[in-house]
């Protein structure tokens, strides 16, 4: 039988496979007929065999490439690794996220120390030599200009509290936090840079206000939303450091593998902060600029928000401790298990 003849004979098989696979890419497995799904496996296997045969026989490269593409597309659908797990937000936020935070808390601590050290240095520098405030803020020139535009917007939309302002603030903060995570890929150096700059800016401005005996005014504007916002930024910095650390010290893994594995954990750590940023942004848009809410109440709200956030990170999703009776049973079972293993 000639190769061309054979090709012509096989073509209907490939076209059938192609139409099933196309349907899967378009509509997913739920809207594909069950008998098609069953048939697809066999069709795919025969297409694989056909591809190997066509290559061995020295078929036309164009035909080989076409068949290759078909096999790729079918392969992608068949070996997609289990059903697409639907995301369970409740389980993620109530259990998985706080656990992830506790697994990686050292990185958040490191992130906090970097930002805090930088803030303290800027604060004390401004105290002793006030002329340096321009230098510190000059280093964060763009950030300050960002704040200036925010102030303009605040002017324009008034002090009544504004959904638009909130939305801008939230978007901006989320961008900074996600950048801090993403820059982890620069061996963590970019993350350290962001933490240092933001820490220095906060410390520098606070120092300048303190120098002119207006510290209360400054903290009154920053703290209501800042407690939660800064906490979340520090955790995002931790995510960046986690990503970067895997590249420095991958352990027994290859660096490529470490990057891929740590990227998933770090991404979850960063993305899970989005509700915190949304909440902080709402406070910043509605509570901080409001004239109707007394200052102490604003402060109390800010502290309460941060307290809830940290308690959640530290306590949520813990397995309740087993009663003593169960622990005894469990250790008896595990002892019996290890004895059985040794005997075996």
């Amino acid at each position: 039988m000639s190769l061309d003849h054979w090709l012509k004979e096989r073509q209907p098989v490939w076209q059938r496979l192609e139409s099933i696979v196309d349907g899967l890419y378009r509509h997913g497995p739920c809207r594909t007929a069950p008998q098609d799904l069953v048939a697809m496996i066999e069709l795919y296997q025969s297409a694989c065999a056909d591809l190997a045969r066509l290559r061995a026989l020295g078929g036309d490269p164009a035909d080989v490439a076409t068949l290759n593409r078909l096999v790729i597309r079918a392969h992608g659908q068949i070996y997609r690794g289990g059903p697409a797990r639907s995301w369970r937000p409740l389980a993620f936020f109530l259990v998985d996220y706080p656990r992830l935070f506790r697994q990686t808390w050292k990185f958040t601590l490191a992130s906090f120390l970097i930002a805090a050290a930088s803030a303290l240095m800027a604060y004390s520098t401004v105290q002793t030599s006030p002329q340096t405030v321009g230098d510190i803020l000059g280093g964060a020139d763009r950030e300050v200009r960002g704040h200036k535009t925010l102030a303009d917007i605040r002017e324009r939309f008034g002090h009544e509290g504004s959904p638009v302002l909130s939305s801008f603030v939230i978007t901006n903060n989320i961008r900074v936090a996600l950048t801090a995570f993403a820059l982890g890929i620069t061996l963590g150096l970019g993350t350290i840079y962001i933490l240092t700059v933001n820490g220095a800016m906060l410390g520098g401005i606070a120092g300048a206000f303190a120098k002119s005996h207006a510290a209360g005014q400054f903290w009154g504007v920053v703290l209501p939303h800042g407690t939660l916002e800064l906490s979340a930024v520090v955790v995002a910095g931790g995510a960046g450091l986690l990503l970067g650390y895997g590249l420095w010290a991958p352990g027994a893994r290859t660096r490529r593998r470490a990057l891929r594995e740590d990227a998933v954990r770090a991404m979850r750590l960063a993305v899970g902060l989005l509700p915190a940023f949304a909440f902080a942004g709402i406070i910043e848009g509605f509570v901080t600029p409001s004239d109707a809410i007394p200052e102490p109440l604003k402060l109390a709200l800010g502290i309460a928000a941060a307290a809830v956030f940290w308690l959640y990170l530290l306590l949520a999703g813990r397995t309740p401790p087993l009663p003593a009776k169960d622990i005894k049973t469990a250790s008896a079972i595990s002892a019996a298990g290890s004895a059985a293993t040794t005997a075996g």
Binding site: K8, A49, A56, L57, D60, A65, T66, S167, I170, M267
Partner: protein
Amino acid sequence: MSGADQYTLETPENIEVEYEPAGLGSRFCAMLIDTLLLGAILLAMWLLLLLLFPAAVPGGATKWLAAVVLAVAIALVSGGYFILFELLMRGQTPGKKAMKIRVIRDDGTPVTANEVLIRNILRLVDFLPVGYALGAIVMFPNPLAKRLGDLAAGTIVVKEGELDYRAHADTKAEMPAPTAVAANAELTAEERRLVSGFLHRRHELLPEARRQLAARLAVPLHEKYGGYYNMAETYLERLLAGRHHESSP
């Protein structure tokens, strides 16, 4: 389609399949289309927002609500355009679809939420300092044209050509194609591919180019495998069929 630019993966059926990574050019074009589309969508939303906002003050609760919804929608669209489309279109965005490219995982399977989120958040770094400069610098020496986001997520952007089965009836019927069921096993796989590729497509070449190419292929092969050499093309046909030692057709 040189061997160096391809990404070969072995399936569980022990079949090697080849992916062709999308290059800088097609990815840049896809990004450009997406950026323009995103810009147009955002512009439309902004206009709507500006129309609604002034009326928000005197107690128009409906319009106030609309402004909130729009403000949130703008934030979601500008931040989530790529994420949303790559999730919904299984690794494609409108721009990628137009350029016939798709994001897949390194193992050839469709992307999941993890990969989509990682590679698109890493966009923030690939974009630095301006216009995806860092991403392009990383992509350039990488044989699979991966930017940082692809490296972290374990994804690869591949060309996804259409499956056009060549019409075997028309062009090939005119030209005698090699009809060997078993090709000459003496030849290496690469040689087989070269020779059969030439024989299958020689009718598409200009006569002069066809003659030169045949000679360039046939002369070194004849030095290596010997046999009866008269006409370059005839020699290649017979070599592929393993009949190059026979003196008569």
